[in-house]
Amino acid sequence: MNELDSLRQEAETLKNAIRDARKAACDTSLVQATASLEPIGRVQMRTRRTLRGHLAKIYAMHWGSDSRNLVSASQDGKLIVWDSHTTNKVHAIPLRSSWVMTCAYAPSGSYVACGGLDNICSIYSLKTREGNVRVSRELPGHTGYLSCCRFLDDNQIVTSSGDMSCALWDIETGQQTTSFLGHTGDVMSLSLSPDMRTFVSGACDASAKLWDIREGLCKQTFPGHESDINAVTFFPNGYAFATGSDDATCRLFDVRADQELAMYSHDNIICGITSVAFSKSGRLLLAGYDDFNCNVWDSMKTERAGILAGHDNRVSCLGVTENGMAVGTGSWDSFLRIWN
C-alpha cells in the first residue's frame, strides 16, 4: 500500500476516533443540564437611538471599547464613526472602494479598519496630528474578498477572506505574519478569544475552526451546520462560541468538550442568520436574521426570549457593547439602531 493510501486510511481512522471521543464526552445535553435553572421570562428591548446618515445598505458595524462610539460600513462607500449616545457623526470617512463588507474598531480607539471586494484591509488612523482621518496602511495579500477583520492591538490585525484563508498581519510592515489555511470554503467571519491567544472562524464549508494565533494551526474543527456559517462569536468565558448560519440555526460549541452543546432554532424561523453576539453574562444570545428581525435566545435553555423588530430590511450586523449595556444593530435599510 503506497504512502498516500496509508495516510488516507490513517486519517479516516483518526477521524472516527475523534468522533468517538466526542460521543464519549457527550453524557448530557445543555438543555438537560440547565433544566433546573430559573427561566428568564420575556426580554423586551426598545430602540433608544436610530443612527441615520448612511445612504445605502449597511454591511458591518463594530463597537469601540469605550462602549460609546461605534463604526459602521455601508455600500454608499463610507465608514462612519458615531457617538451612539448623542447620535452625532464623529467621523465620516470616504472609502476608495464602495464594496465594503467589514469594519473594525481598534481597542485603543486610535484606528479603524475596513475591507471588502478590493481584497485589501485598509487601516485608518483617527488620531492624526493634523486632526483629519487618513489611511495609515493598506494590507494587500488576500486573493479573495475581505469578509471580516479584528484588531488584536494597534499593531496586529486578524482578517478572514473569501479566498478561504485567514491571516494575521503586522500593520507597520504591512506583511502577513501568519496564514491560517484549512477551510474549504469562503471564510465569512471570525471572533477573537478574550485572552487573544486563539480565534474562531466560520466558513461556507459549514464548519467552524479554532486557530492558535501563535502557531498558525487549526486546533479543532466543529462540523454540524448544514450550510454556510455567516457569523461566530465567543461566549464570554472564552471556552465556548456561538455560530449563525444560512440553515436558520445558531449553535453553541464548546472547545473543551470539542462538540456542539446546543442549537437555537424553530420551525417558523426559516431565514438565515447574519450576525450573533452574547450579553455580558452569556445568558442571552442575540442573532440578526434575514427576515428583518433580531431574535433574542436564552442561551442556556435554548428558548427564544424576545424579538427586536423595527428594521425594514435585513439585519446585516449587530454587536453588544463591552460593558454589556446596549445592543447595536445595522441593516440593509441603511439605519443603525441602539437597543436595550
Partner: protein, 489 residues
C-alpha cells in the same frame, strides 16, 4: 418562448387553481426569461425549500387554506383566499405563537412571491378580507429567475395594449416604461412586436384563466421590479454573489492521481501528513464531559449575572435610557468605588488587572510585599506582543536585561525550566520569546500574591466600601478607551 422543465411546472394543484399546468399546449406565453443553472446556486435555496414546504401544506386539497372562486358585481374572482383565512390556518397548522408571528411569516412568503394580494403591488398580508392568490410554481423564486430589462419592457408594453382598467399601469410602472423606452429606443420595434405576439396569445385564453395568469405575472414583476418603498427580496448579499460565480464550492484535495509521479501528489502527502499530525494532537488532549462544561457555562452566567444590564439594573443609569452620560464620567467624578465593582476583582486575576483602579491597588499591595517585579515583567511581555515587528528585537533585549539576565536590574524569580526555555528562545528572539516564563509568572502571581491580596486587609477594606479613592494622580492616568494601561503617545 421558453418552457420550463415539465417537472418544475408539474401540477400538484387544486383543480380550481388555474395556474401553470405542466408541459402542455397550455403553457403560459411567458417571456423567454433567463434563469441560472440550478436552484442549488441560489444563496436562498434553503429558505425557498422551507417556504415551498409550507406552501405545499397550504395548497393541500383537504386540509389546506380554503381557496374558492368568488362572485362579485357580475364578475367572478377565481382562485382566491382571504388574509384572515390564511392567518387562521397558519395559527392552527403551523407552530406559530400568535397572530404577529403568523403575519410576519406570511409577509415574508408574500415578499418572496409565493402568494400575493390580487389588487395591490405591495406584497404583504393583512389579517382581513383582502383577497390573495397563490403564485404558480413556474414563477417561484427557487427557479432562479434573473429577468432582464428587455423582458420587463416587453411586459409593460404588453400591458398598455390591453384595454382593461384593472391592467392600467401604476404611476411607477409608467415611469419605468418611459425610462425603458429611452434605454431601448433602438430596438423598441422588436420589443413592441414581442409584446404584440404575447398579447395575441393571451386574448385567445379563457377569461378566468387570463385573470389568474395576468395576476401571477404581475406578482412576478412585483418581486423582481418592486414598487418604490418595497424591499427587493431578490437582492443577494455580495459575499454570496461572489460564490455563485466561482467554479466549485470547496476544493477537494483527493484527485485520483498517481502519487509517485506528480508534484501535486507530493503536496497531497504533505497536507495529509499535517492533517494526521493535527488530529493526533487533538486526540491526545482529552475531551471534557459536556456535563462539566455546561456547569462551567452556568457558573459563569451566575457569577456575572449582576453585571449583565439586561437582567440587573447597572450601577449608573443606562445612558441611552436616562439621557444621562454619567456612566462615562464616573471615573472622573466618583470618589467612592462601589463594593459591586470591587467584588469583581475577586473573580480572577484577569478581572483585577483589567480594571485600572484594581490594578493600581494590586500594585500598591505588591510594592508593600516587595514582589512588584513579577507583574512588571508580565506586563512588559504583554506590551512586547503588541509591538510592531520592527521594534520587537530591541524590546526583547531590553526585557532580558531588565528581568532575566544575571545582572538584571529587576530580577524575577523564575524556575529553572522557564529559564532554560527562555534562554533557548533568545537564540531566535521574537514576540513570543518570553511566553513560557510569563505564563509561569502569571500562575505564580495567581496562586501566591493574588490570593494573599484577596485575603488582605487592604482588599477587605475596599470591599467594605470604607475606603475612599485617595490618589487623584491615579485617575488622570486612566485612559478611557482601554481597560489595559497603554502608553499615551
Amino acid at each position: 418562448m421558453v418552457t420550463m422543465n415539465s417537472d418544475k411546472v408539474s401540477a400538484k394543484r387544486k383543480p380550481e387553481i388555474i395556474g401553470c399546468a405542466g408541459g402542455s399546449k397550455d403553457d403560459p406565453p411567458f417571456l423567454p426569461l433567463s434563469t441560472s443553472n440550478s436552484s442549488e446556486e441560489s444563496p436562498n435555496h434553503l429558505l425557498y425549500k422551507k417556504m415551498e414546504k409550507i406552501v405545499e401544506k397550504m395548497q393541500d386539497e383537504t386540509i389546506g387554506v380554503p381557496v374558492r372562486t368568488v362572485k362579485s358585481f357580475m364578475t367572478k374572482i377565481p382562485s382566491v383566499f382571504t388574509g384572515s383565512d390564511l392567518i387562521m390556518w397558519m395559527i392552527k397548522n403551523l407552530d406559530v405563537e400568535d397572530q404577529a408571528e403568523a403575519l410576519h411569516l406570511a409577509h415574508l412568503m408574500a415578499a418572496h412571491g409565493y402568494f400575493f394580494p390580487i389588487d395591490d403591488h405591495m406584497l404583504t398580508v393583512k389579517n382581513d378580507g383582502t383577497f390573495y392568490r397563490f403564485q404558480t410554481p413556474y414563477f417561484w423564486p427557487s427557479n432562479c429567475w434573473e429577468p432582464e430589462n428587455t423582458d420587463y419592457a416587453v411586459y409593460l408594453c404588453k400591458r398598455t395594449m390591453q384595454n382593461k382598467t384593472r391592467l392600467e399601469l401604476a404611476d411607477y410602472e409608467a415611469e419605468n416604461l418611459a425610462r425603458l423606452q429611452k434605454m431601448f429606443s433602438r430596438k423598441w420595434e422588436f420589443i413592441f412586436m414581442q409584446a404584440e405576439a404575447q398579447s395575441k396569445v393571451d386574448k385567445k385564453r379563457d377569461k378566468l384563466e387570463r385573470k389568474v395568469l395576468d395576476s401571477q405575472e404581475r406578482a412576478f414583476w412585483d418581486v423582481h421590479r418592486p414598487m418604490p418603498g418595497c424591499v427587493n427580496t431578490t437582492e443577494i448579499d455580495i459575499k454570496k454573489a461572489c460564490q455563485i460565480n466561482k467554479p466549485i464550492h470547496g476544493v477537494k484535495l483527493v484527485p485520483k492521481l498517481s502519487p509517485s509521479s506528480t508534484e501535486l501528489g507530493i503536496k497531497l502527502v504533505e497536507n495529509l501528513k499535517k492533517q494526521v499530525g493535527l488530529m493526533r494532537i487533538r486526540l491526545d488532549r482529552r475531551n471534557i464531559k459536556v456535563s462539566k462544561v455546561a456547569e462551567a457555562c452556568i457558573a459563569y452566567f451566575e457569577q456575572y449575572l449582576e453585571y449583565d444590564s439586561f437582567f440587573v439594573a447597572p450601577e449608573f443609569a443606562n445612558p441611552w435610557i436616562s439621557d444621562n452620560p454619567e456612566l462615562w464620567e464616573q471615573e472622573k467624578l466618583a470618589k467612592d468605588i462601589s463594593a459591586r465593582r470591587v467584588k469583581r476583582w475577586a473573580f480572577g486575576l484577569q478581572e483585577l488587572l483589567q480594571d485600572p483602579i484594581g490594578r493600581e491597588h494590586f500594585i500598591k499591595f505588591l510594592d508593600k510585599e516587595f514582589s512588584g517585579e513579577n507583574l512588571k515583567f508580565w506586563e512588559a511581555v504583554q506590551k512586547l506582543k503588541a509591538l510592531p515587528q520592527s521594534a520587537v528585537q530591541d524590546k526583547v533585549q531590553e526585557i532580558w536585561a531588565e528581568f532575566m539576565a544575571s545582572d538584571a536590574s529587576c530580577p524575577i524569580n523564575v524556575d529553572s525550566r522557564s529559564c532554560e526555555v527562555t534562554k533557548k528562545n533568545m537564540e531566535n528572539p521574537d514576540r513570543w520569546t518570553f511566553d513560557y516564563a510569563a505564563a509561569h509568572v502569571y500562575q505564580l502571581m495567581k496562586s501566591d500574591s493574588y490570593s494573599r491580596y484577596l485575603r488582605s486587609e487592604m482588599y477587605k477594606e475596599f470591599l467594605n466600601g470604607s475606603k475612599k479613592k485617595t490618589s487623584v494622580k491615579g485617575i488622570r492616568s486612566i485612559v478611557s478607551f482601554s481597560a489595559r494601561k497603554e502608553t499615551i503617545t
